[in-house]
Amino acid sequence: MAATIRIQAEPFDLAAESEKLLEGRADIGALASFTGYVRDEDGRLSALELEHYPGMAEDEIGRVAAKAEARWELLGLTAIHRYGKLAPGDPIVLVIAAASHRRAAFEAAEFMMDYLKTRAPFWKKEHLKDGTTGGWVEAKDADDSALLRWEE
């Protein structure tokens, strides 16, 4: 199974990406998807700027996808991450996992997100409504500890 991995500035379309995974197949019994959006942080935020490491970003998400494929019997996997300046409400990240049964699809999608947040080379900078540049978003310990449940 070849995972679809894209790093792009443009928005993505959940319905279109789901259809691509399902097209011509009757063996898929479950699709689990996750979409992450830019929050306005109680109205403070005017934009979120995502910087990435071109080349490594795709490689690293590919390595995470390979781990997911080794762990669950997946029938399809899509991961799309955006970069550039995004407005509150804009979608940032999409993961879709396809499997015969729901558990593998749910778990693989969650695993992908937990790994992607802490391993994929992306950084977020806040732009505030008062015209100033806020800081860089700090990594959360909670995101690191989320990985531990996948380790045995």
């Binding site: 910087e51 490491y53 690293e60 991450h81 802490t118 950084w123 860089w136």
Partner: protein, 83 residues
């Protein structure tokens, strides 16, 4: 070798990338960070807390003990905040 900086590390260093030719006794990532710190105030500031700095050698995450011998591209950056 090519050195890349991202996010606030790039802002502190003041440039996104550079070509470097460290001395032969700079063998690991930790050695490289120590050597970079000696290159000026902006590097001293950028690497004031080396334990925060994440590193990729040829686009693969590595620990600070990792060797850099033969590396073509080394990237340094703060902890990632994607997703």
């Amino acid at each position: 070798m090519k050195l890349l900086y991202f996010a606030w590390l790039r802002e502190r260093v003041g440039k996104p990338e550079e070509e470097i030719d460290p001395p032969a006794d700079v063998a690991t990532v930790a050695d490289l960070i120590a050597w970079l710190k000696g290159r000026g105030e902006e590097f001293e500031y950028a690497f004031e807390a080396p334990e925060l700095i994440r590193v990729a050698v040829d686009r693969v995450h590595v620990e600070h003990e990792a060797a850099i011998t033969g590396a073509r591209e080394i990237a340094m950056f703060p902890p990632m905040t994607g997703g």
